[in-house]
């Protein structure tokens, strides 16, 4: 009897050992290829952000309409890539975790939203609002950082949306984006000079924070090392994309705006580029899953490789949901704020609602994939 139990134990343990080894070896390879993919996207974001910073500097040197447009275009281009990198959030990595030195990731200084524009500059109804008009406020990088969400979560002083507001201004119409005049940046008067300084500093800060992320994930970067030696990298990878799909993009950014119906509740409300944000976030989810680079480069193995080996039906389900969601996003009418103002049964709103539902299905599928691979996937933890 004891002999049989021993044999069974031996058999079970060898099966267990074989499987866990194979599984952990695959996961290890995935963690490496994922790190390369993350590095690839942050590098690209750093290049594009540097280009934006350069365009802003040129604009401030020669403030004319043409240079303002170029600065705005550079912001849009940089943001297209940054949106993809949001798939690397939500698991305590370099972007939004705390490292071994107790330093907190820069997410709150890069992409805080919603933003109370009157905290930074003049708004309709209050021409003296904000830090720029407060002459006793010394505009430096450190004061700007200290002011970020210091008294209220909406008091955002820096990051993408602060720069967006500084370039576009308030969006007061459903037909166009914000129409800040170039003359706001002609030097010579005190307030304009402060605005110029503010734009210069926030742009430099954003570049600095993106550069930091880029170095964290570079080949011997601290962040990459920490990730590769973490206990459950597979769980982290899927938690990032599941949370982006099932929480941040679907609920926080689309559904909440649909429910409030307030045109100002779109994510990039000054530039009317919310549709680009949604697409970029979606691309982040898809590219992480499939291990795809910005020009279709392959980073393998990818999460999809491991999942399709384990459960091909689930993989097909995920691919199918990705395709449907992609179509839904295409059908959201532009600009987003105008869509929000439409009736519930408008085509744009229906497409946006479908996007939300399918992103939730996608998140559920990804959580299921985590279960199959024995990875811990928790949304929004």
């Amino acid at each position: 009897m004891i002999k049989y139990i021993k044999i069974i134990a031996v058999l079970l343990s060898s099966i267990f050992l074989y499987h866990s080894n194979a599984n952990s070896e695959n996961t290890k390879q995935l963690a490496i290829s994922y790190s390369q993919l993350v590095s690839h996207y942050y590098k690209e974001t750093a290049i594009k952000t540097k280009a934006m910073n350069k365009a802003i500097n040129i604009f401030l040197k020669e403030p004319n309409d043409n240079n303002l447009t170029k600065a705005k275009d550079a912001w849009i281009e940089a943001r297209k890539v940054y949106g993809i990198t949001e798939a690397f959030r939500f698991y305590g990595g370099p972007i939004d975790g705390t490292n071994i030195y107790g330093e907190e990731g820069p997410e709150g200084l890069i992409n805080s939203w919603p933003l109370n524009e009157a905290y930074i500059d003049y708004v309709k109804g209050n021409k003296n609002a904000g830090i720029i008009n407060n002459l006793s406020y010394e505009i430096t990088k450190s004061t700007i950082i200290a002011s970020n969400q210091s008294d209220d979560d909406s008091d955002v002083s820096t990051g993408w949306h602060a720069i967006e507001f500084l370039l576009w201004g308030q969006d007061l119409s459903l037909e166009t984006a914000g129409l800040r005049p170039t003359s706001d940046y002609i030097s010579g008067n005190k307030i304009n000079d402060r605005r110029r300084e503010y734009l210069l500093k926030t742009s430099a800060l954003l570049m600095k924070h993106i550069d930091w992320l880029n170095s964290q994930w570079a080949e011997n970067g601290e962040g990459r090392k920490a990730f590769l030696s973490s206990q459950d990298p597979g769980g982290a990878i899927l938690t990032g994309i599941a949370t982006l799909a099932g929480f941040e993009l679907s609920a926080e950014r689309i559904a909440t705006a649909l429910d409030s119906g307030d045109p100002e509740d779109e994510h990039s409300c000054f530039s009317d580029q919310t549709h680009i944000d949604i697409r970029a976030n979606f691309n982040g989810i898809k590219n992480v899953y499939l291990g795809l680079g910005i020009n279709g480069e392959n980073f393998s193995p990818s999460a999809s490789n491991l999942i399709s080996n384990k459960n091909p039906t689930l993989h097909e389900k995920i691919m199918n949901t990705l395709n449907i969601t992609s179509n839904n996003i295409n059908n959201i009418t532009v600009p987003f704020d105008k869509m929000l103002s439409e009736t519930k049964n408008s085509n744009g709103r229906i497409a946006a609602e479908n996007t939300v539902s399918n992103l939730i299905v996608l998140a559920e599928n990804i959580m299921q994939a985590g279960k199959e691979l024995n990875w811990n996937v928790i949304i929004a933890e």
Partner: protein, 464 residues
């Protein structure tokens, strides 16, 4: 044959090795269970500024949009009526802040203004006259000083705080200085406060874990209550029984510094009304006293100003924000601190563990192990913390034991370490030393500890 044998022996070795791992795992799981860590479905591991802002991990995905919708309302600024955004107008006419997150920054804890300034950003001053054991409003300023107002309406008045220094000595000879607040009022728009008006400073509490507190069974609270101090340990502790206006039944108050409210819905409606001037189904009239004519003349932002639908979302947000997990469970100093915390009597009121009962709105919150470190009962905290203001059946010296979960993350989330109801304590240690009345014995025990032992306790508290 030889080879086979050695192969089996080799594998048996692995098997026994696995068995050892298996038993180690089981025993460590058991010891973790005996120390009752919070259930992982309802607590989160974050140590960033976002530590208090996550939904409970088991919140169903279909509820996420209500959670984020609530968060949106929590963060958005309200504007005076009429305004282009109809859903968010109705601020004031008099108020303290324009958004919930203005006081509860990052869902965390408020602090007093810098000494001698009127910059009350996350703290309010409650007012009232005690008449026949009941609290009546100050005839000109009501139950709370609103230091801001919409255009064309006078604000009620301003206040500032100065501190007197007070020295306390530990048994080992080292000393510490405490700061006792002194309030003064100025720029009062309608003249002086009534001569009998009492006042009480209150910082904004952190707002996570509230749904779980709501789900704690009343019988579990009553089990700890000992209003006549029958066990003669010097700690009475009584439940604050109130009539809950949401259910119209008698319940135990769990929310507020004096446990004045049992339903979270009632509690947040009260905050929106008192702090932001927003009417809702429980607070239907504008927040203007008789003498404040301009205040009364203003048009409202709808009846009520916060719609039922908006309030539902805010409620879901408040109910499902997750408490943070404890850190460093295996750290030696923290374990020692935990033992000392129990030994010197802190846990007599700061009850560590509960298993929640059924939560009607959210089954996600039901039957979960939680560690709030509070008995949610009223205790006499001694003359030093007695500011003369009563609330309901809570005497002016009585305060509800505040939960301690997340206390070590306040410095990360809110970048300060101000504690107690009025934020007078500038560190966790100062907060301990302000304990008097029923907590005096524990405070004295703390004073007798050696420096390294005190540090263990503080390390433990900072791990919560």
């Amino acid at each position: 044959m030889e080879r086979n044998n050695s192969g089996i022996i080799f594998n048996i070795n692995i098997a026994s090795y696995l068995l050892i791992i298996f038993f180690t795992f089981i025993s460590s799981a058991l010891s973790e269970e005996s120390s009752f860590t919070m259930d992982k479905e309802i607590s989160v591991k974050r140590e960033t500024r976002e530590a208090f802002s996550a939904p409970i991990p088991n919140l169903s995905l279909s509820k996420m949009r209500f959670f984020t919708g609530g968060r949106h309302l929590f963060r958005r600024s309200w504007t005076p009526a009429p305004s282009s955004v109809k859903s968010l107008d109705g601020l004031g006419p008099v108020f303290n802040r324009v958004s919930c997150s203005g006081c509860h920054v990052k869902d965390g804890r408020g602090s007093p203004p810098p000494e001698g300034t009127d910059k009350f950003r996350s703290m309010v001053i409650k007012l009232g006259i005690i008449d026949n054991n009941a609290l009546k409003p100050d005839p000109k300023y009501g139950f709370q000083l609103n230091d801001k107002s919409i255009l064309g309406v006078p604000y009620e008045g301003k206040a500032k705080i100065h501190y007197d220094s007070k020295t306390i000595a530990f048994k080992d000879g080292s000393i510490i200085k405490l700061a006792k607040p002194k309030y003064s009022f100025f720029s009062l728009s309608f003249g002086k406060l009534n001569k009998n008006t009492k006042f009480s400073g209150r910082v904004a509490p952190a707002v996570f874990g509230l749904g779980l507190i709501e789900a704690i069974k009343e019988q579990d609270l009553l089990q700890n209550a000992d209003p006549e101090d029958k066990n003669q340990d010097g700690i009475s502790g009584r439940a604050h029984k109130i009539i809950d206006i949401v259910t119209n039944t008698e319940k135990i108050g769990k929310f507020g510094w004096k446990a004045t409210r049992a339903s979270l819905l009632h509690h947040i409606s009260g905050a929106a009304f008192q702090d932001m001037g927003l009417t809702s189904s429980f607070f239907t009239k504008q927040n203007c006293m008789e003498i404040q004519i301009k205040c009364k003349e203003q048009i409202n932002g709808g009846t009520p100003e916060i719609s039922k639908k908006q309030m539902e979302r805010l409620l879901i947000y408040m109910q499902t924000l997750a408490p943070p997990k404890q850190r460093g469970l295996k750290n030696d100093a923290i374990i020692k601190g935990n033992n000392l915390f129990l030994k010197i009597g802190c846990s007599n009121c700061h009850t560590p563990v509960y298993k929640t009962g059924e939560h009607k709105g959210h089954p996600e919150l039901s039957n979960k192990i939680i560690k709030p470190y509070s008995d949610f009962l009223l205790h006499d905290m001694g003359p030093e913390l007695d500011d003369g203001l009563i609330e309901g059946a809570a005497l002016s010296s009585e305060w509800k034991t505040p939960p301690l979960w997340g206390i070590g993350l306040i410095k990360v989330v809110n970048r300060h370490t101000r504690f107690l109801h009025d934020g007078r304590a500038r560190s966790i240690e100062e907060a301990i030393l302000w304990h008097g009345g029923e907590a005096k014995a524990s405070r004295n025990n703390y004073l007798k500890l050696k420096q390294n032992e005190r540090n263990y306790i503080l390390k433990f508290l900072n791990s919560l």
